[in-house]
């Protein structure tokens, strides 16, 4: 089915607000075999009218988001009723529940708020548990004289749209969507390999499987490979991907590298400390984003200044003087001492030059050493990530996490 999202809102096109609806709706409807075939974003006002009218001939399911609020620029309801050729009426039940809602919140009643109780004749109301703007569902061709798709009008704020979508939109979709059930999707997350290297390893072989769709998505230090197809094609493609990429695949779900690490360490009752110079807290921050991180993460030493490396982790100032703070011996010392100080099973360390300044001919911006101390030998790696500061930090963190992951699983 042709499924189109129309996001309305001048603020979206001014770039003030990120649209979160596409990602949410795409994932919700995927199990029904539905995919979003197009997304449009238009400003408030007459552009909505033109676009809604145009999309009537293209969409079979149309989600319109935004413009259901009480303010003067919220005119989606009226425009849609007009295009579909339906009268508006004030829904008395909706009016009552609006009054009750505002009273409970001690918000003053205004005539503008009452507009939110106006609905096109025949529309079904989608209750909003988290705001005053109800959603609306107009079934396909609700006005026999005007062809139209299944039409859902949804509120703009994600925290209102999302529960409404799950509670009220999904049941309607299920009522008229034939779930084929045969199309499957798989995701493989690969650490520390470039997109072109990944493609070289799997691209041709996977695309030789009839009926498979293959997509890549590259992030700093990570490539997501997605295959879509019928069950048997997906199985064949999966076998190829697993053979070719093996332990470079760190996850077959949406799990992040840090989630994988927290899970691995938790299962083994092992712990982690980190010593960060160039990554400046990003290692610790990403690990502590994972719920339950406190079971495995003990301490992070963000020893940014050279003095701090000695003060916090007792790194010999002479070692720093001899090799420089950005060097393998210092990386090793940081990891080793962090492991002792944190009393943890493992410790990761990073030291490098994030830039934009601080590089030299022999240690240019982008140079980084990572080290891992654990029950076995200390291992260290020199890497080179010439990029902007934040990407550099992310690449270094991915490399450090992957070093730990591979060490734990023994590959």
């Amino acid at each position: 089915m042709r499924v189109i999202i129309l996001n309305t809102g001048t603020e979206l096109l001014l770039g003030d607000e990120q649209d979160a609806h596409l990602a949410f709706i795409a994932r919700e409807i995927f199990p029904l075999g539905l995919r979003i075939t197009e997304r449009r974003t238009v400003p408030d006002g007459e552009a909505i009218r033109d676009t809604v009218a145009e999309l009537f001939s293209r969409a079979e399911i149309l989600f319109v988001t935004g413009g259901l609020g009480p303010t003067t620029d919220d005119i989606t309801r009226e425009i849609v009723a007009d295009v579909v050729g339906l009268e508006m009426y004030q829904d008395p039940q909706l009016l009552t529940s609006l009054r009750r809602r505002l009273a409970a919140r001690r918000i003053k009643w205004t005539s503008r708020i009452a507009r939110q109780a106006d609905v096109p004749a025949g529309a079904q109301i989608l209750p909003n548990e988290n705001g005053s703007a109800s959603g609306l569902y107009l079934k396909a061709n609700i006005n026999p004289r005007i062809p139209s798709p299944h039409l859902f009008l949804l509120p703009g704020p994600p925290r209102e749209l999302q529960p409404m979508f799950r509670a009220s939109v999904m049941p309607f979709l299920r009522s008229f969507v034939q779930v084929s059930g045969s199309i499957e999707q798989r995701l493989y997350k690969i650490a520390c390999m470039g997109e072109s290297t990944v493609e070289e390893a799997i691209g041709e072989k996977v695309l030789a499987v009839p009926g498979i769709e293959l997509g890549y998505c590259a992030r700093p230090g990570e490539v997501d490979v997605r295959i879509i197809g019928k069950s048997d094609a997906v199985s064949r493609a999966e076998a190829i991907i697993k053979t070719q990429l093996g332990p470079s695949i760190f996850s077959g779900t949406e799990e992040s590298l840090e989630e994988v690490i927290v899970k691995l360490l938790t299962a083994r009752h092992e712990t982690l400390g980190v010593a960060e110079s160039c990554t400046g807290g990003l290692l610790a921050n990403r690990i502590t984003n994972v719920p339950g991180a406190s079971k495995v993460f003990v301490a992070g030493y963000v020893c940014y200044a050279n003095q701090a490396k000695s003060d916090m982790l007792d790194v010999d100032p002479k070692l720093i003087e001899k090799h420089g703070a950005v060097s393998e011996p210092v990386a090793r010392a940081l990891a080793e001492h962090a492991r002792v100080c944190a009393r943890s099973t493992f410790a990761l360390a990073t030291t490098g030059i994030a830039g934009p300044t601080g590089g030299s001919p022999e240690k240019p911006v982008g140079t980084v050493y990572i080290a891992l101390a654990g029950p076995g030998e200390i291992v260290a790696k020199k890497l080179f990530f010439p990029s902007d500061r934040e990407t550099f930090k992310q690449l270094a963190v991915q490399a450090a996490f992957d070093l730990l992951r591979r060490n734990i699983i023994g590959t």
Copy 2:
């Protein structure tokens, strides 16, 4: 002018990837008097062809993002050349610079990468400083037989697109866009105030200024207020905003709170250390994202486990036992000891319950204490941010940074 963005990428419609281009481009082109009038998102493949062809009659400037990479699903170049009716040729200079780029990064050369040197005849190349996919500019009606808008093909990754846009796209836009010069835009960033509180303070008064457009954008711990209008209207609105919000405004530019802090500390030759429990490294990470942070940031103690609070910062275990790790006395001790250990002018500390577990009736999930030690008295604050884990961390960090900022500027 009708300015349209076409985002291409199956991954965008599957919801795997957020589109960051709209927001960036909207802000860049605003000073030229340009606004984005529509944004479309379509999957890779033939949908690109249909949409590009359709948009030729609607757009005067068309930005197409994505699909310029080396993989088989990157076919934007070819589709556009086809629709515009231009031959593709291999650009020898581009090929040479691609080879050089890959050699410098020690990445293996593959024939697929060479595809990135294919360009439509007459197109101008937009160099990519941060990736291998060059952008392309095709001037309006480049093929006299086929009407077309000014057409920019841009790479998908934001860190590649953004510098390219500033360096290479803007000069082309300036060459053919008449800048009216009379419309101005101002941005005010406000810390630690809710959107509705900000609106209550300024909304009615600002909107009473004729010809002013007012927009809000709420992020965790931050509200951006944007006004747009003619010069005199903007000046009047600005006076109102400054009177009403005063020192709550931390920036009148795109600067982040951490950039403001690094700037303030740098100017005063002062330094900062942080002790983080519940924020788990986010304070350090955000400060070290700022280029030049090493001038002011000394050390971060991510003392996640209770033991680490004593080991790293010598917090008396009895203090923790008596008051709990999440308490004002412990927050104060962390800040005080971090300042001593880091030998810094200031130290910030956080301790709280990020959740989803770990709460209790008297200290529910969302409870956080922040403290600041400096040359004056130690100050501490108890706050409550009942939200998801990452939002909680961001809110706590915003509150801590703002405490420091206000302390430095004395408000």
